[in-house]
Amino acid sequence: MGRLRQKGKAGAAKAYITRSQATKKLQCSLADFRRLCILKGIFPREPNNRKKANKGSSAPTSFYYAKDIAYLAHEPVLKKLREHKAFAKKLSRALGRGEWSSAKSLEENKPAYKLDHIIKERYPTFIDALRDIDDALCMIFLFASLPSNPRVPTSLIENCSRLAAEWQLYIMRSSSLRKAFLSIKGVYYQAEVMDQVITWLVPYQFTQNIPSDVDVRVMLTFLELYQTLLGFVFFKLYTDAGLVYPPPLDLKKDEGAAGVGAFVLQDATVPTNHAPTKSKKVVEVEGRQVSGKDVYQTIKSLANTSSETNGVSQDTMTLETNPTEVEEDFVLQTSKSDPQSAAPLATLKSLESLPQTLNTSLFAPYTFFLSRESSRPIFEFLVRSFGGRIGWSPTSGGGSPFDESDPSITHVIIDRPTVENPNETSEEREKRSRRKYVQPQWVVDCINAGKILLEDHYTQGKTLPPHLSPFGEYEGAYDPIAPVSGEQDDMSVDEDEESESQDEDATMDESESADAAALKAVAVAATDESADLRAAELAAEAAGVDPALFEKELKKSRKKVKSDTVGSTEQDMNKMMMSNRQRKLYEKMKYSQNKRAMERSNLEAKRTNIEKQARKKAKAAHQD
């Protein structure tokens, strides 16, 4: 007999810990625990068996891994939180006693924690961090647009808007924006930075008020983490792009509401006094100046002759060869033993020669002017990230590179109905004819299409074509662009109906209608039942249908019905032999499939209905 096993000493009972147990173990308040969990990214787990994890109780609690909690117990932030608790007590005592000077010195030495180590722990590599900044960006952009209040101080909002501007600057600079979507919630942007797809949502420029059922403390804790995370991520992105981080802010421009334009992007290779000496590094060998070209040639000759490297070549090898001058192509060296093993490697050159589907300089040839009713931050960001130039009227902020009268303007983004201007000077008319007046959706649709679309559908005052999501939907979802399946049949039926209704007063061919009825009967009688078949036959005879024709029709309909039903009935029968578990899984899958199909068919039906209405309306208009 093995050792007796005590209950609750192993397995799920040890691996999981409830939330109240966790706070008791960490000796912190629930608020502190929540803060820690948010900062450290620890979330509850669902045990396989709740009863086993909770000493036989099935009360609704949330469980954490006991190891997660043990890991939290060593957290320096937890220590700081405890210190802060002590500090708060001391401060309140000092204030209560009216000891202002000691309260001041306490306040000066307030314990503060840093989140650097947490960032490093949660995101060991830069890619990990970059992959997870979606939520951070959404929050930053949201808080950048919030009004300040006692709980959300101005400094926080300023920092958020700074971070938002930095991110936009980087995206514009690296032209990594890929897609944009104007939704009812805000504008979705999707960028591709270091092969990571990052999507963020920016609310429209309206004042947001924090609803009462939202716990601001939770949001602020998240924001604390996100600010630090984004700071480090941006630092890395900027330094990798050779820029100074943080980008200096031009205060004068900022006061003029220049927005993103108030920041100055500085190249990090600013130490200009060092640069020329490096680039003009001249090496003299045997009294002769050696340039990079010479070096390259020497190396090439050495490689060809495969001679031994001598001292001179060793010296020259230490020199930098300028990679921009000549690029050597990778040559595939097949091994003699197994010539097929080495597959040609995709090199940078071959990748570059591939057709570039993505056009990041889409708007480079154009100059835009933003009319004052369209939102500047959105379209400035969109146009500039695709290489276009954009100007705006001074009412939407300072820093416009040109004004409205600039002759280079090709497009005007305008979002108001057309108004006839009777006293338009010829000059104005000429200017008007030179420019294209498009609605804002054109910009976004061009970006999503990856090409410049015809402006005709988007000109001022026109009814816009629908704006579709560039992110796509699940496979097999309803596609509003594709023609509706069975639309053709429907159309023909429609036509038939119409023709029938038109010929109603005309004499109808009686025998034809009878024929149709008989054939319909055949279709009904396409079963195995002989009695039904017989009845159908009799009906056909009574209707005076040619027996040969009847046979033909019968065969046709039978074949059709058989091919439809036989398979399905067999499957139905085979479902009997499924195990219970399989049947449940099958039904679940079928349920979701049916739900999607229903959704799709519902949308299709709505669309055909709308189209029919439109056609009818058009016809009526035409007849009038």
Partner: protein
């Protein structure tokens, strides 16, 4: 008598008086004498007072004459209360000389709670000890009228001493105004009086020192001890023991290349799942079909926010400038954050398979032919056809109904050959499996009738007759059985009457099942109603019946003979037991997990058993394998009524109260390792449901893959391939 009563009355009065007099306030000075006097002088009081007044007036004159007295001269009078001499001072004229206030309250009770006088007619005593009577007080209406009439009513206040309203003086009104205004209540007080400098100021400086002592050294020499203390601190600072306040760390976080150092080898935590990307419906200008109709919108509003498949209502705006701010933006972001830190995350393997691939691949029914596919014949009984039996050669069918009609008809054409009419219900029918004789047994209430069908070849007929009614009866059993075997006398033998009858014990109920052993000598019957188990085994050759079980736990539903071994299956409500009859012991108990077993049948090999139940389940048992079912099928929508294996073909059929018959292909392999193959082949429909009952019995025709079924609608159908 009257005198007596008077005395009594006076006594009473006296005592009353005493009591009354004791109660009111008694001055400390007054003695018991005053009590007497008061009692005596009730009537004389007024007279004496008058006298007193006169005396006072007469005696006041000499007082005025004396100029030396500062204070008015006192008079000595005899008090009419105590009867002794007392000094009476003249009333003081209320002028400026008087030390008391001008309006002295007549009531002299002092500052006492006035409610002590609530029950009294007076409110106190004046200076002379006379009662101050309570002023007349009208009702509320009078008082109100007074306030209206009196112009000074609003400047008067209730005086509790006199219990009446008293107009306030101008000084008092001024005081009240000052208190209201927060000023000093004293009108004469001047807070800004010019300061009078008594000891300081110009010309009053003290120029001479108070002491002539020389000034001490400590006044101008720096302190040594202070220097020591300071030096101590200086030294501590120099040595670094005291650190001057640390430079404050900047609140702005400092960013650096955090990812340039190598990271720990720990795997990074799994990233949180990203929220779903927006679809076309979220567009500010979606295609029109995405907009909700009125019903859809209503439905959306009615569903709980958590159950909605979309958290927004699609909307269409003609241009971007008309798009309003999204009011749930912050709430949605907050919900996302709640998900991030409060929702348990589980990694699920998503099954990316076609659901159709879950359906087991079975051979197509068309490759498993022959099996019955269509209804070829219909034979109708006037009432519920409960049971049927097919002859061993497969040419004849006997069917019985509730009204006691038993019909014999031909299978191939459906022509009725003969009809028997009995009194009572026909519960069971079974044809004897022997081929050399031909007869069938009808279970009619509590009797079993043995009937020989007509048109038999003479040899067969003769043999059957000798079997059922032998000329020499076998010796009766030693212990008599309650079951009686009766043969009608030979002269009454006709085709209409049974040749042999077995009378089961009374009150054993309807014989619900008859089952033959394969040799045709033994026959088992199950009676439904009896309190006993109701199972009997009858031996034809010995004309003897016996009950195999003394007692069976549960109600026996069905019994079966094993096709090869001397085994016997007994199905009670929930269990199937397998007994060995020769060794008389229990071999196995099968637990199908059915609440109420309705039917069972055993495969020809004897190793497989199917059991059907009223709870729609059909269980397939592999007797070699386990006591638990190998397969459970649940595909009838109502209770299963009957099951039957085909004697030759690998087929079995199940019939149910839903009016359908299901045909299965059931191939059993002799190889023990291979599982039996069960393929559903065909669902036969054609019986109507009557009184909640569907198809009551199915029987296979022994030579062909044909099925005979009897239903509650009275129809007996033949299904052919």
């Amino acid at each position: 008598m009257e005198m007596l009563s008077d005395e009594e009355g006076s006594e009473g009065e006296e005592s009353d008086g005493q009591e009354v007099d004791e109660f009111p306030e008694i001055d400390a000075e007054s003695d018991e004498e005053s009590d007497f006097e008061e009692r005596e002088d009730d009537e004389n009081e007024e007279d004496e007072e008058d006298k007193e007044d006169e005396e006072e007036e007469s005696e006041s004159e000499p007082d005025d004459e004396d100029p030396l007295h500062v204070f008015p001269k006192a008079k000595t009078v005899v008090s009419d209360i105590t009867g002794q001499l007392k000094r009476v001072f003249p009333k003081i004229e209320p002028d400026y000389d008087s030390d008391s206030s001008t309006e002295d309250a007549p009531n002299r009770v002092g500052n006492i709670p006035m409610h002590w006088y609530d029950d009294m007619p007076h409110v106190g005593y004046d200076m002379d000890g006379k009662r101050v009577l309570r002023p007349a007080k009208g009702d509320e209406l009078d008082r109100f009228l007074e306030t209206v009439e009196d112009p000074s009513a609003w400047t008067s206040a209730f005086d509790k001493n006199t219990q009446s309203d008293k107009p306030l003086t101008t000084e008092e009104l001024d005081l009240i105004r000052r208190l209201y205004a927060g000023e000093n209540p004293d009108a004469e007080y001047d807070p800004y009086e010019p300061m009078t400098e008594w000891f300081t100021g110009k010309g009053k400086e003290e120029v001479m020192p108070l002491s002539a002592a020389p000034e001490p050294k400590r006044r101008w020499v720096p302190s040594k001890w202070e220097k020591k203390k300071v030096m101590k601190i200086v030294r501590a600072i120099r040595q670094g023991r005291i650190v001057p306040s640390k430079p404050k760390a900047s609140t702005q976080p400092q960013f650096y290349a955090i990812w340039s150092e190598s990271s720990s080898s720990h795997a990074p935590p799994l990233p949180a799942p990203k929220p779903a990307l927006p679809t076309n419906a979220e567009s500010y200008n979606p295609p029109e079909e995405y907009l909700l109709t009125d019903e859809e919108r209503k439905k959306w509003e009615e569903t709980d926010p958590e159950d909605r498949d979309r958290d927004f209502v699609p909307q269409k705006y003609s241009s971007l400038r008309l798009v309003p701010g999204y009011d749930r933006f912050i709430k949605e972001r907050f919900n996302r954050q709640l998900d991030l830190y409060m929702a348990p995350r589980v990694q699920r393997v998503k099954l990316n398979i076609d659901p159709e691939s879950l359906i087991p691949k079975l051979p197509s029914p068309s490759s498993l032919k022959p099996f019955p596919t269509y209804k070829s014949l219909k034979f109708v009984h006037p009432s519920l056809a409960r049971c049927i039996a097919a002859s061993p050669d497969g040419a004849w069918i006997v069917s019985g109904d509730e009204n006691g009609i038993v019909s014999l008809w031909e299978l191939s054409v459906g022509k009725e050959i003969k009809r028997w009419k009995f009194d009572g219900k026909v519960g069971a029918l079974e044809w004897c499996p022997r081929t050399d004789v031909s007869f069938f047994v009808v279970g009619l209430e509590e009797t079993l009738h043995f009937i020989i069908p007509p048109y038999l070849p003479p040899a067969v007929y003769h043999l059957t007759q000798t079997l059922l009614a032998p000329s020499t009866l076998p010796p009766p059993p030693e212990n008599p059985s309650p079951v009686r075997w009766t043969t009608s006398p030979s002269n009454t033998w006709t085709d209409d009457a049974p040749l042999l009858s077995i009378h089961l014990p009374a009150s054993s109920g309807l014989a619900s099942q008859i089952v033959w052993h394969r040799r045709g000598d033994y026959m088992a019957t199950v009676s439904s109603g009896g309190n006993q188990s109701g199972v009997w085994i009858h031996q034809l050759s010995r004309r003897h019946s016996q009950a195999p079980f003394k007692k069976v736990r549960g109600k026996v539903q069905m019994v079966l003979f094993h096709p090869a071994k001397p085994n016997f299956f007994v199905a009670t409500q929930q269990y199937v037991r397998m007994y060995n009859l020769s060794e008389q012991k229990l071999l196995k108990t099968l637990t199908p997990g059915i609440k109420w077993i309705s039917s069972m049948d055993v495969h020809l090999s004897g190793d497989h058993l199917i059991v059907g139940g009223y709870d729609r389940k059909l269980c397939w048992f592999d007797l070699e394998l386990s006591d638990k079912p190998y397969k459970v099928l649940r595909y009838h929508s109502r209770a299963i009524r009957s099951l039957h294996f085909h004697p030759i073909y690998p087929l079995f059929a199940s019939s149910s109260d839903d009016g359908s018959i299901q045909i299965f292909h059931a191939r059993v392999y002799s190889d023990l390792m291979t599982d039996p193959l069960i393929v559903p082949l065909k669902i036969l429909r054609g019986h109507e449901i009557a009184q909640g009952l569907g198809v009551l019995q199915v029987k296979w025709c022994s030579k062909h893959p044909w099925l005979v079924s009897s239903g509650a609608d009275g129809a007996v159908n033949v299904w052919c391939n």
